[in-house]
């Protein structure tokens, strides 16, 4: 039996869970082989909290380190989704982040 959207949505959700992202903040689905992920990307783990704790003296540094951390997570997310058999594309509508062709993940200012 070929992999259907119902099954693919579970697979995408599992990738999101495994990356430590909060599924409650995301709307996740796969329709006709295209993954749709909308909402807010947030990790509530020790690594993220440590950044906030260790660089408490500079909001700019915190944002820089967090952006780096989240960018790596988003790259892993996109990579893992796209290699799934049955997935032919992914659409992200994420608060504060945009995936641009040739540029990868870009933080959108003015959105947290």
């Amino acid at each position: 039996m070929s992999i259907n959207d119902f099954q693919l949505t579970s697979m995408v959700r599992r990738v999101i869970v495994s990356l430590g992202l909060q599924t409650a903040l995301l709307d996740i689905s796969v329709i006709n082989g295209v993954a749709y992920i909308k909402g807010k990307i947030e990790r509530q783990d020790v690594a993220v909290m440590r950044i906030r704790r260790d660089y408490y003296y500079s909001e700019e540094l915190i944002q820089e380190k967090l952006s780096h951390e989240y960018r790596s997570t988003l790259e892993a997310l996109d990579r893992q989704i796209r290699i799934m058999p049955g997935i032919r594309g992914a659409v992200y509508k994420l608060k504060g982040w945009e995936r641009r062709i040739g540029k990868g993940w870009v933080r959108i200012h003015g959105e947290s």
Binding site: Q7, T9, R14, D27, I31, N32, V46
Partner: protein, 374 residues
């Protein structure tokens, strides 16, 4: 491998090591939750683990203050009220030996029994102690310390004899690591003992669907939906299931149920649009688009609807200009299923028109013609 990580039998030495490091893990967890509180993340629910940590670290007064704040905000949640009562009474109600339910998964009952004396000497017992070790386990899990998370979950079971919480936590631990058959084993045992536990049921439905057990996943979702018609995610999962089964009517029905609870539900709107396009009833599609709360989504759907109705190319072009990014998504093939529902003749002319208007290059036009017209 995660399976080796948790299948390995528990050793006395690691229980002793864990008991020596609880204090350190607890201090780090406290810093973590304090930071979350400072940032307002997860408020007010974050007050629960924070308060439990403080209580089990001996700071009863402070912990009661936070728990009282939480109960004041969430006075309908039984778990919080019970925790407050436990804190006030000193949580002196450890489970009796005879009160432990049997856990077959990884023969955990036998493993706990084997180390009972050591566990008794090394850890607290009681309702809050159970919560405490669960919290430390979850923190260890976010750090990728799987074995430690596993040991904390087992300790939590020893402390409060809660089988459902143990199996849910272990199921989630295995699931996050992609160990689906192990996750299924843990969650199935948890669900058969506590079919009323919706979190286990929902988690299990994801595992079953990924394992290809679609009927089982559907049954679970129906059971949860019966008790929670107000959970739009469950209604949407059922819509997805029926869509995958080509049952357009039922898929539409569950999409509507999800949208009744949350009209801005992105996935449900996306799926409903496709389902209506399949029904070939332009009026129905038009009404649906009219009612969408999200302007950007409505704008996107209006373009495809106009193409399907073969409206003048100039007006579709004007609509397309208002939705930046859609052109790239179409070129990437992300809207193929919808584009293919438009007549070939119209599409051919429209692609050429886009090229004339310099919205797409000649190369892109040729690629689009090859893709949709052949």
């Amino acid at each position: 491998m995660m399976s080796e990580n948790i299948r390995t039998l528990i050793q006395s030495e690691e229980i002793s090591l864990l008991s020596r490091e609880v204090e350190q893990d607890s201090r780090e967890a406290e810093t973590f939750f304090r930071e979350m509180l400072k940032q307002g993340k997860g408020y007010p629910d974050v007050l629960f683990p924070f308060s439990v940590l403080l209580h089990c670290s001996g700071r009863q007064e402070e912990s009661r203050r936070y728990m009282a704040e939480l109960v004041k905000i969430n006075d309908h949640y039984e778990k919080y009220k019970t925790a407050r009562t436990c804190m006030e009474s000193g949580d002196r109600h450890p489970p009796e030996m005879s009160g432990y339910p049997q856990v077959r998964f990884l023969a955990l009952s036998e493993q706990v029994e084997k180390h009972r004396d050591l566990l008794e000497r090394s850890f607290f017992k009681g309702e809050l102690a159970g919560e405490y070790y669960l919290i430390l386990g979850r923190i260890a899990q976010t750090e990728g310390r799987w074995r430690r998370a596993f040991l904390y979950y087992v300790t939590a079971f020893f402390a409060s004899a809660k089988k459902a919480e143990l199996l849910l936590s272990l199921g989630q631990l295995c699931y996050a690591q992609g160990e689906l058959s192990l996750a299924g084993e843990a969650l199935r045992e948890g669900y058969s003992a506590h079919p009323e536990h919706e979190k286990i049921g929902l988690e299990l439905s994801y595992v079953e669907s990924e394992l290809g057990h679609f009927d089982r996943a559907r049954e679970l979702l129906h059971v949860i939906f019966e008790s929670h018609p107000d959970w739009p995610d469950v209604a949407y999962r059922l819509a997805e299931y029926y869509f995958s089964e080509n049952d357009v009517g039922k898929a539409l029905d569950y999409c509507e149920k999800a949208l009744t609870v949350n009209p801005r539900y992105y996935s449900a709107n996306m799926l409903k649009f496709r389902l209506l396009m399949m029904k070939e009833d332009p009026e129905l599609v038009g009404e649906f688009i009219q009612g969408i709360a999200d302007d950007s989504l409505a704008g996107t759907f209006r373009i495809f609807h106009a193409m399907k109705k073969e409206e003048p190319k100039e007006s579709v072009f004007a609509l397309l200009e208002k939705v930046p990014g859609l052109k790239d998504e179409m070129i990437e093939g992300l809207w193929d299923d919808v584009v293919r529902s438009v007549s070939s003749n119209y599409l051919k002319g429209f692609i050429r028109f886009l090229q004339e208007m310099k919205m797409i290059t000649e190369e892109e036009a040729l690629a689009a013609l090859k893709r949709y017209i052949g």
